[in-house]
Subunit: 231 residues, 2 copies
C-alpha cells in the first residue's frame, strides 16, 4: 500500500505535457498529433486512446491547470476581502489577487506554466473558439472578481466595469504571450520574460484605469475628448 499506483501509467501526462508545449509554440492547427506523440515519446495511437481526438486534447490541456488556478485565485480574493473587512478592499488589492497567482506561477513554477499561459493568450485572442473556451473555464472566477470590484467602486456603471475588465484582460493576455516585441521596441531595456516587472506595473496601471472609468459619476472629462469625429 506504500507503493505508488503503477498501473495507470504516466503516458497520459507525458502526452499532455508535450501538447502543452507545442500548442503554446505553434497554435492548435500548427501542430500535428503525430508531432505531439513523437515529442512525448509515445505511439501516436495512444493519444486517441488516452485523451481522444485532437480538439479534446486541446481542451484537456486547457482544463488541467485551470482548476488549481481558479482555486488559488478565489482563495486570494477571499483573503484580501477578509483583510480589509469591514471596509471594502482597495481596487489595487483586488487586481493583485486577480493577477498575482498567474504571473507568479508563470515566473516561478516551471516551464509548463509558462507554456500554459502562452496557450491561454493565443486562445483568448482566437475568434474561432477563444471566446467560448475562455468563458467556460475562467468566467466563473471573473464574475467573483467583478463582484469584489463593485464593492470597491460603488454605483459604478456596469458597462464601464465590464470594459475595464476587458482592458485588464487584454494587457494581461499580451503579457503571457511573451512574444519578445517589447524587447525589440525598448532595445533590451524591458524583457518579455520579466513578469515581475509587469506585475509591479500592471496593478497600479489597471487600478488607475478602473478608478478613472468607474469611479466618478460627474461626466466632466470622463469621455474621450473627440468621440464623434468620424474624421
Amino acid at each position: 500500500m506504500a507503493a505508488p499506483r503503477k498501473t495507470r501509467s504516466n503516458k497520459r501526462e507525458r502526452i499532455l505535457n508535450a501538447a502543452e508545449r507545442l500548442f503554446a509554440k505553434k497554435g492548435f492547427h500548427g501542430v500535428s498529433v503525430r508531432e505531439i506523440a513523437r515529442a512525448a515519446r509515445v505511439d501516436v495511437a495512444l493519444v486517441s486512446y488516452h485523451v481522444g481526438k485532437k480538439a479534446e486534447l486541446f481542451e484537456a490541456v486547457l482544463l488541467r491547470r485551470a482548476e488549481m488556478l481558479n482555486e488559488e485565485r478565489l482563495q486570494m480574493l477571499e483573503d484580501c476581502i477578509a483583510d480589509a473587512a469591514p471596509e471594502p478592499p482597495s481596487v489595487e488589492a483586488i487586481i493583485d489577487a486577480f493577477t498575482h497567482p498567474l504571473l507568479n506561477r508563470s515566473t516561478r513554477e516551471g516551464r509548463g506554466w509558462k507554456d500554459y499561459f502562452s496557450l491561454v493568450a493565443q486562445a483568448n485572442n482566437n475568434p474561432e473558439m477563444g471566446g467560448v473556451l475562455m468563458s467556460r473555464y475562467f468566467d466563473p472566477v471573473v464574475r467573483r472578481f467583478l463582484d469584489a470590484l463593485r464593492m470597491a467602486l460603488p454605483d459604478c456603471d456596469e458597462r464601464d466595469l465590464f470594459w475595464s475588465y476587458h482592458f485588464l484582460s487584454g494587457a494581461l493576455t499580451l503579457t503571457f504571450a511573451e512574444t519578445g516585441r517589447i524587447d525589440n521596441l525598448s532595445g533590451g531595456l524591458c524583457l518579455s520574460s520579466d513578469l515581475d516587472a509587469v506585475h509591479e506595473r500592471l496593478v497600479p496601471f489597471a487600478a488607475a484605469g478602473f478608478k478613472r472609468l468607474c469611479g466618478l459619476h460627474d461626466s466632466a472629462g470622463r469621455r474621450n475628448p473627440t468621440p464623434a469625429k468620424n474624421r
Copy 2:
C-alpha cells in the same frame, strides 16, 4: 487613356481578400492554400504565381493595409501636436491619435478592415512570429508615439513608459479579436463588435494608467502594495 488598366487582373486582390478573411477566422495554420483559392474563385496555382508561398501570402496580407494605416496615424499625431503647440499635447489626445484610426476604420470601413485587425490581434499574441512581424510593420510608428508621450510626461522612467505602452497594446489587441467573450460575461450588455464603446473608454482608461505609472516621481503608493510576496 480613360480606360482603366485591365491588363493586370484583379485576381491577386481577390486572393489577398480571401486570405485576409480566412486567416483572420482560423489563423495561419488553420487555413489551406487550396481553401483560400476556392474562396477567391481562383485556381490554386495562381496563389503561388501571384503572391508566392503560403508564408509570403500571410505577410502580403499584413503589409497591404499597414502602410496606409501608419500614414494616417502619423498624420493624426502630427495634427494633435500642432493643435496643442507650443504646449505638449495631452496624454488623452496622443492615445486618441494612436487608437482612433484603428477603431474607426474597423467600425466604419467594411468587413476587410475588421478581418485585418482580427488577424493582427492573433499575430500579436503569437510567439512563433508575432513579435517579429508586429515589430517590423508597426514599431516605427509606435516609436513616434512614444516620443510624443515623452513630451506629455517629462522625466518619465523609460521602462514605465514601455510597459505602459505594452498594456495599451494588449487592451487594444484583445479588442480587435472580437471573440464575443465580453458578450457572454456581461449577459449581452456589452458587445465585442461595439468598438465605439471601446474607444470612448479605452482612451481615458489608458491615459489614467500612463499618468499613474509615468507621471509622478514620488514613490508613494506607486508600486504594487505587495510586490515581493511570493505567494
